[in-house]
Structure formats: structure tokens, C-alpha cells
Symmetry: C2
Subunit: 253 residues, 2 copies
Amino acid sequence: MSVQGYDKYAYEPFAVTVDLAVFTLRSGRLHILLVERGQEPYAGQWALPGGFLEPDEAAEEAARRELAEETGLADVAGLHLEQLRTYSEPGRDPRMRVVSVAFAALVPDAPQAQGGGDAARAAWLPYEEGAGGAYGPLAFDHDRILADAHERIGGKLEYTCLATAFCPPEFTLGELRQVYEVVWGTELDPANFRRKVLATPGFVEQIPGASRLTGGRGKPAALYRAGGAGSLHPPLLRPAPEPVPDAKKGPSS
Amino acid sequence: MSVQGYDKYAYEPFAVTVDLAVFTLRSGRLHILLVERGQEPYAGQWALPGGFLEPDEAAEEAARRELAEETGLADVAGLHLEQLRTYSEPGRDPRMRVVSVAFAALVPDAPQAQGGGDAARAAWLPYEEGAGGAYGPLAFDHDRILADAHERIGGKLEYTCLATAFCPPEFTLGELRQVYEVVWGTELDPANFRRKVLATPGFVEQIPGASRLTGGRGKPAALYRAGGAGSLHPPLLRPAPEPVPDAKKGPSS
DNA sequence: GCAAAAGTGTTCCACCTACACCCATGT
DNA sequence: ACATGGGTGTAGGTGGAACACTTTTGC
């Protein structure tokens, strides 16, 4: 059950916030939306955007509201926003007990820099795997949240059609493939990728006459739209995360 | 960021709770641990076990504590406990604002009935897919939480070694297969299942001399222990969830 | 012509599927 | 004997990995 006899003011109150890991692809690299903290603790450090739940607001609504505020995007309604998990360790905010519901969001591209609503500064910074990189350690436990979010996104690409959420309304298969390559940090065979995507009904649908040049050179590529499908059967697995040195039975490879 | 200028008593306080969907296998059926509510709202109805976060306790700790209280099990430390997601819709508890972190837990078997800590009554009831079943609609939004938990468990069986968490320390491959069959509601080929499991290094390891009779009849089966591996590569996919009638694209819209 | 990217074809192999078949045990 | 479940063997199909090859553009 959730609540029985309970004096709602008996305990030190919990603050409930949302934290957002917002990813985008920019010039062939994965970027993450960060804000610079204006005051203590962690003043001057980068942090994930986020904020408090309003009294009559679900976490998903708060997350989407924050997403709109921090990115400056108008059409936030259609963006992919996914609950990641909740972080509730007692010491994660030195001031008080803060329980934070973390979300992962995907944005096609963010040409506009975003005005920091209440933050000192906000920026898209290139994502670095090792939690270090161009922005240093993040405030609070946000390095961990960010790593969890990246892992989740990478995993979801395998068995969902999520990759189109990184793309503009019209995109080429090369651009779609680049989403996988950048998020996974691997290279994929263009031919096999193409077949795999086209073999999945509802993943993408071709725009009849359209075509576009991609990198300046090369044959113009056909344009596609996102299809209606959500899941990928069979999945598109990323190449072995662990090499697996040996095993009790190793047929040939 | 998480907190800026903020009067911690300015808002109506949030209560933070954990709710647990605890599954087990009993006599060949999937069971779920439920408690009967003693007071309003939803007095007399069944609900998921759960409770409040203590002031210095992470959600995971609270969940494990509740798990121990409600199941009566002593060795709760080794059980599989996994954060599902957080439910925060404003109206989900009529009395006050309750944000609930839901967990899914797997128990090998529960021979002992559990003493209800603070609940009127607690019981293992056979899980029903359609949220109805032997226990009727659950209190609050627990039907939804339970459905989400079942879906999560079913999905995780595909690509993790989680199934051993349902089994006692020593088990036969037939028992392990039954886990999949019961959770998925399908039948699996014993021969292929066997090969698949044994081909995955670290999924199970055989106990050299041991064997046991299973259903009274039949050849005694070899006994296995859970191995150290966590993930399943390649995954063990359940038979097609959607038949997908026809058409190369545009299934829904 | 050359480089680069799109797009097509083809081969090999891992793995999944399905069944057939033997083994050990209780009734 | 026979039913039942454990365990082994094997043939066929699907799909992914790897790679050769053609096409269309810019330089």
C-alpha cells in the first residue's frame, strides 16, 4: 500500500526533482545539454538541467516543461522523453533530502542555443564516455545519471526504432546509420545496415521523389521519414560489448 | 541542477514511498505478493506491499527492508530487486501527494507464508494477466505497476540470466525452463532450451554428481547452480509477441 | 579520372527450429 | 510394458557479417 495513518508533516519533507539528460547529434558527435551552476553547492560546475516538481504536476510533465525551458524548442511535445530511474541516496544533495527522477531525452538537432531559464548558462557540450571530457566532473551525482542515460539510449537503439528521434523529419539512411555509430562508438556496414532497416516494416518510409546530397560528394541519397513502428524484431545488436576471451565451448570463432 | 534557492517548507510536502511487485513461482504458476488494505482508501482491497522512505534511507534500502518485512524471508540480501520506474501522477493517492518508486523483485520460492507487518493480511496470489483474476482490481494505480513489472520481468528474461533468481540454489534445467514458460505464458522446446542455456558460458554450472527426480516420473535430471554471468548473448527471444498479419509497412496508422 | 557515398548482389556461417530418437525411472 | 521427462542428434531455414561491385555526384 502507499499511505496509511500518516502525519504529512511529521517527517523532514522530501524535495522531488527531475533531472534531464538531453542528447543530440551535432556535426557528427553526440552532445549533451548542460547548465552551469550559479550558486553553491557546485557553483561554476556543469550539471544536468532539471528542477522541482510543481504541486500538481507529474514527473513527466515537469520534465517536458524543463526540456522546453532549457532548450528553447517550441515543439517539445513530439520529442522522445523517457524515464530513466530515480536517484534517492540520502547524501546526494548536501542541503536537503532530494529525490530525483531522471529522464533521458532525444532531440533531432538544436540549431538554436538555449537561453538559460534560471541557470547561469546552458550549452551543448560534446559527450565524453569517461565522464570527464570538456566539462569536467558534473555536479551532484550527475555523472552517474549521465552515464546511465547513455547506456540506456545505446541499449534502446538495439531493439526499438528510437534512432529516428535523433533525426530531422526527413533524413537519409546514412544519417540514420550515423546515429547508431555515434551513440555506440562503432562503425557499421552501410550495406547491411540499409537492408536491415528497410527489412523492418514501419521503421522508415521512403519519400518518393526526394533525394539529397549528404557530404558534398557522393551519390545523392534517397530521403526517408520515420515510420510508425516502435520495436525492432529482430533487434539490431551492436557489435560485441565484451570480447569474451574464451569459453568452455568455442565452436570456431 | 537539483536545488537552487528553495524554502523547503514552502510547498505542500511530497511523500515518497516504495511499492514492490514481488513475483515467485509456486506449483507451476506465477504468483504475486499482495497485502490486504486495512483502512480507507481502498479498504479491503489488495495492494502491492510497500511503505515510506525513512529519512536516511535510499529507495533501494527501503524496498529491501519492506521485502524482508512482508515476505518473512531471512536472506533478502541476495534476492533480485530492481527499480522499475517512479509513479508521480498527482491524483494517484487521494489523501496527499505521493511519489512512489516501484520495484520488481524475484523470489525463488516462498514456502513460508509471510506475516503482515503493518498490513491487515498478506498472501501469495496467482498472477493474472488481465489485471483482474483472483484478487480483483488492486488499490491505487497498482494494477498498472504490476503490469509494468510483469512486462519488465518478461523482457529481462530474454537477454539476462535473471531466470535463475526464480530458482532454488540447486535446480534442474526443466525447472529453469518452466520459469520462462510460466512468465511468458508459452511453451519452449526442451531440447533447444537445454542447448541454448548450456551454450551460454556462465549462465549455469553443473553440480558434478548430483541428480534428482522431478515429476515423479522420468529420468532423473542433473542439477545446476546459477553461474556468474549476467547477460545473455545472443538473447533468448520469446516467440513472436505480435503475429504481424501482413503488409510491408504501415501497421497501425 | 579520382574520391566518396549510395545502393545491389553474393557468399559464408552462426544460430534457431523442428523433429526423431535413445535413456532412465515410476507405475 | 508403457508413459513421462531428461538428454542427444541432425537436417533445414533465417538472417547477420563480410566483401565485391555498380552508380552518381563533386573536385
